[in-house]
């Protein structure tokens, strides 16, 4: 049973999506199936994580074809952690969307597509084959495109066009890079590529190839010159959709960068400098972009970009401490960003506006909710001992070790600007006496909702906030996990051995 454990998250999501498609027109069934299924998936992900934690990297050969010919699925600590985080976010967003997304959107297959998206995310984290990674990326793009456009508002379509154009471009670049790599080495298995790429004599071509991967994944993870699609599209769909996008989609790009540049390509000084420059510019431009926004969802979209910079910085420094910092930040960021986009959804439900100027007086109206919202907000800033503080400590420490003082400056600058943006958000939305916002008739205000719906909306925020608090207060455990992942990434022999030696071809 446990031999194929790492496939269960994939199979379960696929199964859920099929069942949900069968109950296409029964929205209330879909809500129940989606929530129960997400909890099941969380259980499976916890099981997988504890199994990988105790027994090390797990592999399986799909179709029983020996590596490097078949498609390998690999669950090392990084993959297992990300699958766990995906399923945590999946539980939260599934519950949140069943209460907050309006029925006219749900009836166009929202839930089946949502579970296909989770399938794509899990697949991307678990695959050990670079072409298979591309296929999972395609699944992610197609499903996210449907989720972006469900509802068909003009703003949504406009955002979706920008999103789709740039992401398809990224996919084409990624595919080209795979083609070149295959032409050079004749292999697609990532563990096999690790050895073969090092043996290729034409180093220039390998460098160009590495840059192609960098550009492809860079667009997907929304780093400096190529991030324009993100703030143009993330504020248009329902907030449940933005929360899964903001929490997980860009992180897949970061995951792919981490995987490709630790396993397949060796970072030389040139690539390291490119990554570090990108990190600095991403930190600057994201933070400054967030500063001028009035729409709260756009503001958080820019903060998503800004904080990708931390992870790229960790990768660029390429020391064990720095990568551990990047991994810790990744864990923290997925939880907090998912949560914050849900918070903006609740704020919209309370006041029927996203404009920071018009909002106000939330603390007077809803003191308890405001205190709850304070947890993700101040975790994002990283006020010690909340979760955002610890990875920055590692990153700055690694910066001093490697002598990247400009980067340290950028990290501090982005942290201060994030602090400023969040404090301003807090002052404007919660403490200021807001303008009288006109009540819209027939708008599903939060206070008018039934109690169980209120619970479905607030429950996920409480759930994610508790986990965020754990990440902050139990930081030594998360740090131990991040250090272990970082060790595995820096010493990829373990990964390669697991693929080739543990991959027992089962006897016919």
């Amino acid at each position: 049973m446990t031999e194929q454990l790492l496939l269960y998250p994939l199979l379960l999501q696929m199964f859920l999506a099929i069942v949900l498609m069968f109950s296409w027109s029964r929205i209330s069934w879909q809500k129940g199936i989606s929530i129960i299924g997400s909890f099941l998936n969380l259980g499976v992900a916890v099981w997988l994580f504890s199994h990988v934690w105790e027994n090390g990297t797990q592999t399986i050969q799909a179709g029983n074809w020996a590596p490097p010919f078949g498609i390998t699925f690999v669950a090392d600590s990084l993959s297992a952690t990300l699958v766990l985080l995906t399923s945590i976010a999946g539980v939260a967003v599934s519950s949140f969307s069943s209460a907050s997304v309006i029925p006219s959107r749900l009836k166009f297959g929202y839930f089946p597509i949502f579970h296909f998206l989770l399938l794509g995310l899990n697949g991307a984290f678990l695959t050990g084959d670079i072409f298979n990674l591309y296929v999972w990326f395609e699944i992610i793009i197609i499903t996210s495109f449907v989720l972006l456009t469900i509802g068909g508002e003009k703003a949504q379509l406009e955002g979706a066009m920008k999103y789709f154009t740039l992401n398809i471009l990224a996919s084409v670049i990624f595919l080209t890079a795979i083609a070149v790599l295959y032409g050079l080495t004749g292999s697609l298995n990532m563990a096999d590529l690790a050895g073969k790429v090092a043996a290729v004599e034409n180093r220039t071509l390998i460098q160009v190839n590495a840059l192609l991967f960098l550009i492809g994944f860079g667009i997907k993870s929304a780093v400096f010159p190529l991030y324009f699609w993100l703030p143009a599209s993330y504020h248009t769909p329902p907030s449940a959709v933005s929360s899964i996008f903001g929490g997980l989609l860009t992180k897949v790009g970061v995951y792919a960068l981490l995987r490709v540049f630790t396993l397949i390509f060796e970072l030389d000084t040139f690539l390291q400098n490119v990554l570090l420059t990108i990190a600095v510019l991403t930190l600057f431009s994201g933070a400054i972009g967030a500063l001028v926004q009035n729409n709260i969802r756009k503001m958080f979209s820019y903060l998503v970009i800004c904080h990708i910079g931390y992870m790229i910085a960790g990768l660029g420094m390429m020391t064990e401490v720095a990568i551990a910092g990047a991994i810790f930040y990744l864990i923290h960021d997925i939880l907090v960003k998912t949560n914050l986009f849900m918070v903006t959804g609740v704020i919209y439900k309370l006041k029927a506006t996203n404009s920071m100027k018009k909002l106000g007086g939330l603390y007077a109206d809803q003191p308890l909710l405001s205190l709850l919202f304070a947890i993700p907000l101040f975790s994002l800033v990283g006020i010690p001992p909340l979760s955002g503080f610890w990875p920055k400590l590692s990153l700055i420490g690694a910066g001093f070790e490697t002598g990247n003082y400009v980067l340290i400056g950028a990290i501090l600058f982005a942290s201060f600007l994030t602090l400023f943006v969040v404090v301003r958000f807090w002052a404007e939305v919660f403490w200021k006496n807001g303008e009288k916002v006109e009540k819209i008739r027939n708008f599903p205000y939060f206070n008018k909702l039934r109690n169980y719906k209120k619970f479905q909306i607030i429950g996920p925020i409480v759930f994610l906030s508790i986990i965020t608090l754990y990440v902050g207060f139990g930081a030594e455990n998360i740090q131990a996990l991040a250090t272990r992942i970082s060790y595995e990434l820096m010493n990829s022999e373990g990964y390669i051995d697991a693929v080739f030696s543990n991959a027992r071809i089962m006897e016919k």
């Binding site: 031999e3 194929q4 496939l7 199979l11 696929m14 199964f15 999506a17 099929i18 069942v19 498609m21 069968f22 296409w24 399986i60 050969q61 799909a62 179709g63 029983n64 089962m506």
Partner: protein
Amino acid sequence: MRTLILKTASNYMLPLLLVFSVFILLRGHYLPGGGFVGGLIASIAFVLHAFANGLETTKELIRIHPGFLMPTGLGLAFVSGIGPLFTDKPFMTGLWFPELPPPLSVLGNIGTALFFDIGVYFVVLGVTLTIIFSISEST
């Protein structure tokens, strides 16, 4: 545009094309063909019928909503993928049944790969028909 020639021809073409699509589906394991092409040919059969006799007639002929074929096909492919799991082999391993006696041996080798292909056939048929039906309904 309804012409008598097209209408008469389409009544003969429908079963012919369907049989041909099944032929292509079965041929696909070692030779060009397979579930995807087979599904496309089958959907062409229905689309041709819809052009000649009107959408309503075709819908009555199919009876079920074509969208229903999508989860059916996905389910079939899914089951054929997880089938090997119960015999302790990895996901998607091809399992083959012993060769069939003469009248049925025309089908070729029967195994999980064939059921996967049949699943693809249904998905492609369902998707194509749903797209074409909804486009022609909205105009």
